[in-house]
């Protein structure tokens, strides 16, 4: 299947999942049931940024499926491909919102799920000053925990904020990676769709710090591309859904680096099979220069550890 068809297929799959889930929510909770993520003034941030509309109840959430549908135009041109990626993102947000409707606490330790506004505000400044030089979204599964740990710790030592999605979370735990917001390693969730929580982070950064008007999707994308130095590492076998989500990342200006063989697009979608080079490849792709010189002391030393408290058992 060519890249375009893969992305379109993934987007349609995401739409189908979202449709089914919304249907379930309508049946279980009714159309008037309230929809919201915790601690945010931006409703469903991706949809809000794209359309300027706040979703408040299940009925509106159902209507938002049309946004997904309208973004899937199966024509083999780049703009359509990127839109289709955005469709997947919107679908993912709908799916995640449903989770929050169906359960009061859909996420539990170690996963963060939705990231609240206050956290974004606190991270925004170091992101702008370069103290947090970048955001690594690590998704999928490494061949082994050791490799995963090495890559994540490398990002951590360089002060990046690393978000984990999928099995890599377990690999990080196995590798004893110290996690937590203040340590700049945040497991988002095990489902692919939980990646939307970091996307909504970036998008809210545009609304909060970039003062971009909700509904002005072009400016939102431009802000993310110019100002939010994020990138994606997608490891292990890639489903169509993941590839279509990757197209969404590319629409935001975030390059995707994978260990799989894919039709590469220079600077945007790259294959790096050498795990020792993943970090450097990613930083170069996103043009991230590390301000902090690495200090060769036995313990990884960087801003990521500033918030670390030495607990008793350690």
């Amino acid at each position: 299947m060519n890249l375009y068809q893969t992305v379109f297929t993934g987007s349609k799959q995401a739409l189908k999942v979202a449709e089914d889930l919304v249907k379930e929510v309508v049946e279980k909770k009714g159309k008037d049931c309230k929809v919201a993520f915790p601690d945010t003034a931006y409703s469903l941030p991706v949809i809000y940024a794209a359309t300027g509309k706040k979703i408040t109840n299940v009925g509106e959430l159902e209507a938002a499926l049309d946004v997904v549908r309208s973004l899937i135009v199966e024509e083999e041109m780049l703009d359509k491909l990127l839109n289709s990626g955005l469709a997947t993102a919107v679908a993912a947000e709908i799916i995640e919102a449903c989770k929050y409707v169906l359960s009061d606490a859909p996420y539990s330790e170690p996963c963060s799920g939705f990231i609240s506004d206050p956290i974004i505000r606190s991270f925004g400044v170091p992101l702008v000053t370069g103290d947090v030089p970048g955001v690594a979204v690590v998704l999928g599964e490494f061949p082994d925990a050791e490799t995963a740990t090495k890559v994540i710790k490398d990002y951590q030592s360089k002060g990046l904020l690393t978000c984990l999605v999928g099995k890599v979370i377990d690999q990080a735990i196995e590798g004893k990676v110290k996690m937590g917001l203040d340590l700049r390693v945040v497991p988002l969730g095990y489902d692919v769709t939980s990646v939307i929580h970091i996307v909504s982070f970036a998008i809210r950064a545009a609304l909060i710090f970039g003062a971009v008007k909700p509904g002005d999707l072009g400016s939102v994308l431009q802000y993310c591309s110019d100002r939010v130095p994020a990138f994606v590492n997608a490891f292990g076998p890639l489903s169509e859904l993941v590839v279509s989500a990757g197209a969404g990342a590319i629409a935001l200006g975030f390059p995707v680096i994978t260990d799989q063989v894919v039709p590469e697009v220079p600077t945007l979608l790259l294959t790096q099979k050498d795990y020792d080079k993943v970090v450097k490849t990613s930083l170069e792709a996103r043009k991230i220069k590390i301000k902090i010189t690495e200090i060769p002391i036995p313990v990884s030393f960087a801003a990521a550890f500033e918030g670390e408290r030495i607990r008793k058992g350690d």
Binding site: L3, E76, M77, V265, P266, L268, L270, Q272, E284
Partner: protein, 630 residues
């Protein structure tokens, strides 16, 4: 002259008005005077190959006279005429390549012409199996020249092919029996077989034409380009300006017209000499303003950013501005009409090549031993002519466009390196280009090339085709007079990416290039072969599998026919915007537009409407993508 608008180029229309007022004639007037062209010639069914004739047979099968006196039917006559066009075009490129090879053979460290690009020399030496280890640069250069020259008159075996020729392609040629042997031999073969009483079968006749074309593209033109780069430098991206507005109001305007780069190189050098500039100022001019027309312009602009005054149909109009002190020409595509035309102005029309004397011109033959000296004399003659300029007759159009030129294959690879992740590599390959094509961000690539032809609206075909293609995310490379049309229309600027589709636009932003890349002169179409061959090799496919096409929207010369033949024979579908003289034989039309696909995986498309051509190209490219699974 009928009142339909002759050109989409404003300066052209302005100058045509002026020509009328000045009472001088242009090619458009002569075209009108000729009235409707003879239908027999236009259909290719007129034969003058012996003195039994001329014979003309009916272009409609089963109606009227079907055979010439010798018994040749329409298929035979049309295919022979077609083949002779190819021979004519190939011969022009052969002789161009030969002079360049001879120049390389005569390079010396203290001569006027030196080896400028040693790296390229080494690369070319390798492909000719010339040893380089520990040898003097000039010994290598002379051996390379000798090896190249051998291919022109080779009697045994086959010509040397560059490594960019994919294996599969070569096998196809071998199986069809169209692998060229020696370049000149292929031209002679056609002249022989088209003689009365020789080849009388359209299919093998056309195959001979293909073989001759291949000698042109993959050998003669290829070598001309490589050797020119070795001596004069491999082009790098450089800014320039285009259209008649580049002529200077108070400068000594020298217009270089023709084809061979040695002429323009020498004149560029001479015109930069301080004594010359001082002399120009002494004569009351601000300086010397060099600009070019046709392929000499392309050569000089690619290497020095020399301004592009215009393309083929504008050559007379440059003189009509009244501001050209010297029009200096060498060979090919030079209207003999310039001699008479320049009598009406102060312009000195200077011919320099013994291969193209033109009655009524000022003859200043290039001294092969001391070309720079001749160039100085030419520049001096131009300067001294400045005082003769009749200011009341001068009218320079205001219009000119910025352009970036200089995209040799090497420069394209350099640009592509900019998007390669250094942790992944590799550098200096076509991989990024192959990648974006495979991924579908670029749907394909098109070479838009060729001439102008007053049968169609000047530049309209070029511009509409190019715009249509880039809008559909098909990256366009241009050479020849098509390139100048694009330059004039502002399509060679980075800003032109706004006219491109989303994928091409993105690629242009990432690589920092315009959506239309000027790759040089007509012989530099070999650069396109080099690029396409490299991509095919990179992807492990044949050229005919790739979503690439060639287009000649306004072609006119026999060279264009030879080019068309080698492009199709290389596996690239080729669109012709002007109908070739073949319509008198359904058999030949069927071979060109149908059968060739079975032979070569590519064929000719004849489509005078550029918008329809774009649609056809997009469909065809999508077909090829599908076949390849991309």
């Amino acid at each position: 002259m009928d009142e339909k608008v002759l050109s989409i180029d404003k300066t052209t229309l302005e100058m045509l008005d002026k020509a009328k007022k000045d009472g001088v004639k242009t090619a458009w007037d002569r075209k009108a005077e000729l009235k409707a062209a003879c239908g027999f010639g236009a259909a290719g069914v007129c034969c003058r190959n012996c003195n039994l004739g001329p014979c003309r047979v009916s272009p409609v099968p089963g109606k009227g006279v079907e055979r010439g006196i010798c018994g040749a039917d329409a298929g035979v006559i049309v295919s022979r005429n077609f083949a002779r066009m190819v021979a004519g075009g190939a011969a022009a490129h052969s002789d161009h390549g030969r002079s360049i090879a001879l120049e390389l053979y005569h390079t010396s460290p203290d001569g006027d012409i030196k080896v400028k690009d040693e790296k390229k020399l080494m690369k070319v030496a390798k492909r000719f199996n010339v040893p380089t280890e520990g040898r003097d640069i000039y010994d290598i250069a002379h051996d390379v020249a000798q090896a190249g020259l051998n291919d022109f008159g080779r009697q045994m075996g086959e010509v040397n092919f560059p490594p960019t020729l994919p294996k599969k392609r070569k096998e196809i040629w071998d199986n069809l029996g169209i692998t060229p042997r020696g370049f000149d031999r292929e031209v002679v073969s056609i002249m022989h077989s088209t003689h009365i009483g020789c080849m009388a079968d359209a299919e093998p006749m056309i195959k001979m034409a293909l073989r001759c074309g291949l000698a042109d593209g993959w050998m003669g033109s290829y070598m001309a380009t490589e050797f020119s780069d070795i001596m004069f430098g491999t082009p790098k991206s450089i800014d320039t300006e285009a259209n008649l507005g580049v002529l200077g109001g108070n400068s000594v305007n020298i217009v270089l017209h023709g084809h061979e780069p040695s002429l323009s190189e020498m004149i560029v050098q001479a015109a930069e000499e301080p004594e010359m500039i001082a002399l120009a100022k002494e004569q009351g001019a601000d300086g010397i303003n060099l600009c070019g027309m046709c392929c000499t312009a392309n050569e000089a602009t690619m290497r020095h950013g020399i301004k592009l005054a215009g393309n083929f149909m504008q050559q007379e109009l440059a003189v009509v501005t009244g501001a050209v002190e010297a029009l200096v020409v060498d060979v090919q595509c030079i209207f003999p009409a310039l001699a008479k035309l320049s009598e009406s102005y102060h312009t000195k029309f200077i011919t320099t090549s013994p291969k193209a004397y033109i009655k009524g011109s000022v003859r200043m033959e290039m001294d092969e031993e001391h070309p720079l000296q001749t160039a100085r004399e030419i520049v001096k003659a131009a300067i001294m002519n400045f005082k003769n300029r009749d200011k009341s007759k001068v009218m320079i159009p205001e219009l000119k466009s910025e352009a970036i030129v200089g995209y040799s294959t090497e420069e394209i690879l350099n640009k592509l390196d900019g998007v390669v992740n250094s942790q992944i590599g590799p550098m200096q390959t076509t991989k990024p280009l192959g990648d974006v094509i495979v991924a579908g961000v670029l749907r394909g690539a098109a070479g838009v090339v060729g001439c102008n032809n007053p049968k169609v609206q000047h530049d309209f075909g070029h511009i509409e085709t190019i715009k249509g293609l880039i809008k559909n995310d098909i990256i366009v490379v241009v050479t020849g007079c098509a390139a100048q049309a694009a330059a004039k229309a502002g399509l060679l600027k980075k800003e032109a990416r706004e006219l491109a589709g989303p994928g091409l636009k993105k690629v242009c932003e990432l690589v920092d290039i315009p959506p239309v890349l000027h790759m040089g002169s007509c012989v530099d179409i070999s650069r396109i072969l080099e690029l396409v061959g490299s991509v095919a090799n990179q992807l492990g496919t044949d050229i005919s599998d790739l979503p690439v096409v060639g287009v000649a929207p306004e072609w006119m010369s026999e060279k264009a026919v030879s080019i068309g033949c080698y492009v199709v024979a290389s596996g690239i579908d080729t669109w012709l915007g002007v109908v070739p003289p073949v319509t008198g034989s359904p058999e030949v039309v069927d071979i060109l537009t149908n059968k060739m696909e079975d032979w070569l995986g590519a064929k000719f498309f004849i489509q005078p409407d550029p918008h329809k051509a774009v649609d056809e190209i997009v469909n065809r490219i999508n077909e090829k993508r599908k076949k390849l699974g991309i």
